[in-house]
């Protein structure tokens, strides 16, 4: 195999695996949007704070790994519930900008709370997996990315089953479809809003642990949240398969772009290319690949 081709395959495989890890975070965004119509601009900060809790438990308080992971899960689930009750329920029926700004404000708080309460500076988040990448011919795969991709796929399958088969999942789809009718059918709509935020908490906690291991935990961990928007716009804001496909597209595009364009412009293409793609998607197909086609034309 020529060097060019193997370079291409390397970028592709890396992009696909990273893409699945983006999907995991985007899944948190989609779950909330699907069920409650709320837009979470603080998704990256959710992930960051989960990283802070885990790394804080491991490195500062010296807890064993399973305690740290459990702590992250429990605290993020509780946080999701409380957030819905205290903040988002009061913003139901308000203009889009109110919810957008409220979650931006929440993002600011979380960015302050992490270093203020837990620890300042950067801490690693070690997981008991091997460091050396697996070699597959010319391609090398870091184990953490493989784990991340596995977790993402497991969640996709899990949520797929949940929404298609379980009673709660069906109730949640009803809530997403039409809140008034769902209420008339005896579904406790507000409870399911809370459940949606708690599920986002679970996804964000795992995303925070995986991304924290990959990047190290500090405030900049929240920047992965910026990748959520291209992913969900491409895939469709309310579609779980869309989050996976969108994540794969964004992962591949940013890796290919970074691999081939970066040498000419001096870096940074990784953060730039997905947004260009997103603008094109907004112009051509704003509701995304799998999204519901209810966008309002003005």
């Amino acid at each position: 195999m020529s060097d060019d081709l193997s370079f291409f395959f390397l970028l592709m495989s890396n992009g696909l695996l990273i893409g699945l890890m983006y999907s995991l975070i985007a899944l948190g965004f989609v779950l909330v949007y699907k069920a409650t119509d709320a837009i979470n601009f603080a998704q990256g900060e959710f992930v960051m704070i989960a990283g802070f809790v885990t790394a804080g438990a491991l490195m500062v308080w010296g807890a064993p790994l399973w305690v740290a992971v459990a702590l992250a899960l429990v605290s993020l689930v509780a946080f999701g519930f409380v957030l819905e009750r205290v903040m988002l329920r009061r913003l139901i029926g308000r203009p889009v900008i109110a919810v957008v700004m409220a979650t931006i404000g929440l993002a600011a708080i979380l960015r302050g709370v992490g270093p203020f309460v837990i620890f300042s500076g950067t801490k690693p988040l070690p997981l008991p997996i091997r460091d050396e990448p697996f070699m597959l011919g010319p391609i090398f795969i870091p184990p953490i990315q493989l784990l991340g991709a596995g977790v993402s796929l497991a969640f996709l399958a899990g949520f797929g089953w949940f929404f298609l088969k379980s009673r709660k999942g069906i109730a949640m789809r009803a809530v997403a479809d039409n809140q008034q009718v769902a209420m008339a059918m005896g579904i406790d709509v507000e409870r399911y809003f809370g459940v949606a935020w708690a599920m986002t908490g679970v996804v964000s906690a795992l995303g925070g642990i995986l991304w924290g291991n990959l990047l190290g935990v500090d405030v900049n961990l929240a920047l992965v949240g910026f990748k959520v928007f291209p992913v969900v716009i491409l895939g469709g804001l309310d579609s779980i398969p869309g989050a996976i496909i969108g994540g794969l597209i964004v992962g591949v595009v940013e890796n290919i772009a970074a691999g081939y364009v970066d040498p000419y412009v001096g870096g940074g293409t990784k953060d730039f290319a997905p947004y260009v793609l997103m603008i094109l998607a907004l112009m051509i197909r704003p509701y995304g690949i799998f999204g519901k086609r209810i966008i309002e034309r003005v």
Partner: protein
């Protein structure tokens, strides 16, 4: 403004519609004029004047964003990027052509208006959340372009030095000179916005915000007016960027990153969407917040925290308070400080009698 109307009975429509409802109102305006033109610049220390200058710059930017978000109802998370467009246009013109500041100011504003209108094009097809994300993309793409195209950013660390503005033979170098320089533009900006909202264009903006379909039915060209709103708002942003560049003496893209866009959104939400006075209150509030926090922490922080960590905690504390205030105002007082001010005023309007 700040006066009681108790016992004042109007007998003609002319008197009711007058610019000054009471004779005393002229005196309030005059007193405010004396305060801002004479008392503040002549009595404050250089450092406090530099803070006042930052407030003035923020006021102009907040007015611009309020035209777009508050009056026209189009969400934009790209205000900081439009400022950077103005800043780099002016800096490049000043350094390459040596053009005087009025030319740079105008060119910066117009360039920002052009780019703003281009970023605003998606607003014709999409709105609400999608528009917010599209303008966020605009912000990131403009940031990246300025940072990576050396023709614009001038290479090293993407910053360009700019000479102080001159007024004839006089170089505006001290904070006091800058204060007067900026005050002129603040007055122009406030008068411009207030008057804009009384014209056909301003009324069209408000109609689009209140109901876009109804606005189209009564004959407003939504396509044109939405782009116009983006252009005017970005013109303000561009002017803000140019003024900030002259204030700092350097154009640097780090001064216009996404956090700045969010700061300006916070200003108009805390101050009050769709109000000129609210933009001013919000700009003052958000600009002073970190400074007040720093003073408070330097004074009292040692009681709660170890002295060497106090300085590191300040930015985090600022973020937490900033976010909490945004959420607080959104939930408790959606119309912002402007509403609180109006409540106080209407309480005292006929005080001490009930009516």
């Amino acid at each position: 403004m700040i006066h009681r109307e108790c016992g004042v009975l109007k007998t003609t429509y002319e008197a009711d519609m007058g610019l000054y409802p009471l004779p005393i109102a002229k005196w309030t305006v005059a007193a405010l004029g004396v305060l801002f033109v004479v008392v503040i610049p002549l009595s404050l220390h250089e450092y406090y004047l530099s803070v006042a200058n930052l407030v003035w710059i923020a006021v102009i930017g907040a007015l611009g964003l309020n035209i777009l978000v508050g009056y026209t109802g189009q969400v934009s998370i790209g205000h900081g990027a439009f400022m950077s467009v103005g800043a780099y246009t002016a800096a490049n013109l000043a350094n390459r052509l040596g053009s005087p500041w009025p030319v740079n100011l105008l060119a910066g504003g117009l360039m920002a208006a052009l780019i703003g209108a281009i970023v605003g094009i998606p607003s014709l097809r999409i709105k609400g959340l999608y528009l917010a994300i599209a303008t966020l993309a605009g912000q990131l793409i403009i940031e990246w372009t300025i940072n990576h195209v050396t023709f614009i950013s001038g290479g090293v660390q993407a910053s360009i030095e700019v000479a102080r503005p001159r007024l004839g033979p006089m170089v505006l170098s001290s904070q006091r000179d800058m204060y007067y320089f900026l005050l002129v533009f603040v007055v122009l900006g406030i008068a411009g916005t207030m008057n804009l909202m009384r014209t056909r264009v301003g009324r069209a903006f408000i109609a689009i915000r209140d109901h876009d379909i109804a606005a189209e039915i009564i004959g407003i060209n939504i396509f044109r007016y939405k782009l116009l709103a983006f252009a005017i708002s970005s013109f303000y942003a561009g002017v803000t960027g140019v003024l900030y560049t002259y204030f700092l003496g350097i154009a640097n893209y780090e001064q216009f990153q996404i956090g700045v866009s969010i700061d300006y959104l916070a200003m108009i939400i805390i101050g009050g969407l769709g109000s000129v006075l609210g933009s001013i209150f919000g700009a003052i509030f958000v600009t002073l917040l970190p400074i007040v926090i720093r003073y408070a922490m330097e004074a009292f922080g040692g009681i709660f925290f170890a002295p060497q960590t106090v300085l590191n905690l300040i930015p985090n504390l600022r973020l937490m308070l900033f976010g909490a205030l945004i959420i607080f105002f959104l939930i408790v007082e959606p119309e912002g400080l402007n509403r609180l001010w109006r409540n106080i005023r209407s309480y005292f309007r006929v005080w001490p009698f009930a009516y």
